[in-house]
Symmetry: C2
Subunit: 327 residues, 2 copies
């Protein structure tokens, strides 16, 4: 069987068209975002929406629960959909909801989305106070049940403390190194070394605000950055987390940034002049273009085995080790 292709972060305006493009692009598994600022009940409504899609498109997609489901996807010519939260709002203040959501299929949870949460500090706050009391308890519980700690939108100290406190490897599902492009959302070398030396995974983002030169970023620039990351951190810790937000209206990026927490518009990585979603680079329009990235990686000197590792084998190994109860 060919190596799997896994995209470890998307939040699209889901439709049959997109599910068909996943098949066209040979994407075997996608980690999809279920919630940003949703309450428990609202997050369950989003899971219900996915149940409906699974019922409507059983020949294209199914709910992924374990690493084995990636093979099942390959064997049946479908895409396995793995759930994640970009913010812990769905667990509210109830640690018991970690296991409940794991039972419902949630496999990743960010401890914070840009702002301070009940668990940790986000990358847009001025002061980073690290893991809270509740945050430490939740990390332990996520370790126990097999839910991956994702620190993509978290601040530096909080991320280091999560790596330290977690007994299992964590993930930064969608971000790039700050040494390549100094966005607030990109990660310091210190964080990336702590992440990768502890068995954690970095998913490279294709969201233009995380790219050097934004929407004009070239495939060569992106792949050269990955080559340098491989030199610094080893190839085994690297994968893709495209952050593809396909077909979303701009009201969604406003929801992602503002939720219900602000009465003053926060433009996040955008600005008052450019408040909407940025254009994707021409070489990565959507799920059909993963082959472009694989070709780009080969062009900058990665071996076939290394390309396979970054395009899916590494996430596969991580999924296999992460989604079940602690040994």
């Amino acid at each position: 069987m060919r190596a799997p292709v896994i995209d470890n972060l998307q939040y699209a305006n889901w439709s049959e068209k997109i599910f068909r493009q996943m098949r066209e692009g040979g994407v075997d598994a996608v980690h999809v975002t279920i919630a940003y600022h949703e309450s428990f009940r609202e997050a369950v409504l989003n899971l219900e929406a996915w149940n409906t899609w699974f019922e409507q498109y059983p020949n294209l997609i199914f709910r992924g629960l374990t690493g084995k489901d990636v093979q099942r996807a390959q064997e049946t010519g479908r895409t396995a959909i793995f759930f994640g939260f970009q913010n812990p709002s769905p667990i509210e203040d109830d640690i018991g909801l970690v296991e409940v959501f794991h039972q419902l299929g949630v496999r990743f949870m960010q401890l914070t989305y840009n702002n301070q949460s009940l668990l940790a500090t986000g990358c847009y706050e001025e002061d980073d106070t690290g893991l809270t009391r509740f945050g430490k308890q939740v990390v332990t519980e996520m370790n126990r049940v097999g839910m991956v700690i994702d620190m993509s939108h978290s601040a530096n100290r909080s991320t280091l403390e999560a790596i330290d406190h977690s007994t299992r490897p964590i993930a930064i599902t969608h971000a790039n190194p700050a040494w390549w492009h100094g966005a607030l959302r990109n990660k310091s070398d210190e964080v990336l070394r702590a992440l990768t030396t502890s068995g954690g995974m970095l998913g490279f983002s294709l969201y233009p605000h995380h790219l050097k030169d934004g929407s004009s970023c070239t495939l060569t620039s992106f792949c050269t950055m990955i080559a340098e990351a491989a030199e610094r951190y080893g190839t085994d810790a690297l994968g893709i987390g495209s952050d593809l937000c396909q077909d979303q209206p701009d009201s969604v990026v406003s929801w992602m940034r503002n939720g219900r927490w602000s009465k003053v518009t926060d433009f996040g990585e955008g600005s008052a002049d450019a408040p909407g979603f940025p254009d994707m680079p021409g070489w990565f329009r959507d799920n059909r273009d993963f082959g472009q990235i694989a070709a780009g990686l080969q062009d900058v000197g990665f071996t076939a085995a290394e390309v396979a590792a970054i395009m899916g084998d590494n996430w596969q190994r991580f999924y296999d080790a992460s989604f079940g109860p602690a040994a």
Copy 2:
């Protein structure tokens, strides 16, 4: 492997003591009540409480999801716990919550608990209008995902319509024939024939209000009733659903009867003079006494194979056929 022992309804004040008594009594599987009048969120809190018990007592109990888990219980010397609702209040007015609860392990749901619900009519209402529009949709959805329709507390017409509308066999998990003891909660011969000729199961109740002579009912009387039921309906459709409410304070029976729906105390099967839980018959104190029932069945003339069928094999076959998605 010996035939399994399955009790298809209990609602105890759960404790390590009771879980140990399940092991002492050789009970391989128990269907436990998760909710009477709980909202969605409250029912999830009750599931969280069970998750905590599973974590605390992994050597005694685990969450049962499929019929195979009864064998797993036998092989590992534990009791498989299967979840059910006695009322549809946890799904509120949202059909999508049927699948969500199935994913969380809920395998039985009563369409109503004594009163009119959004789905059907309960056995204490004056007028029985059968399945509602929502009720028919929910029966179809329960059929699809593999959640068993339980009509133990439902009225006659509603029960007949549920049997008719359901494409899969249903259950009356805990009740007795009205021809033996004419309680409102016991079932008409018409209902029991419709139930059993369609592949459905009847679980005999040991709750004193459902017994002839109440707490004074003799084991022989109970088993003779089962023998007559076997003659009328065949042995294959019969099992036990004890309705054991062990160690519960009387406030719980008041909650079961009144929920939050009445400002005037409803005494249900009790009375102002005897508002609490009735005493169990001496020959069935708790989980340790299932052997007494098996012996009683043998004494009234059942063969060893028939005793095994009633004590667990019949529920086992029903579990195997009922808990997965529709074929």
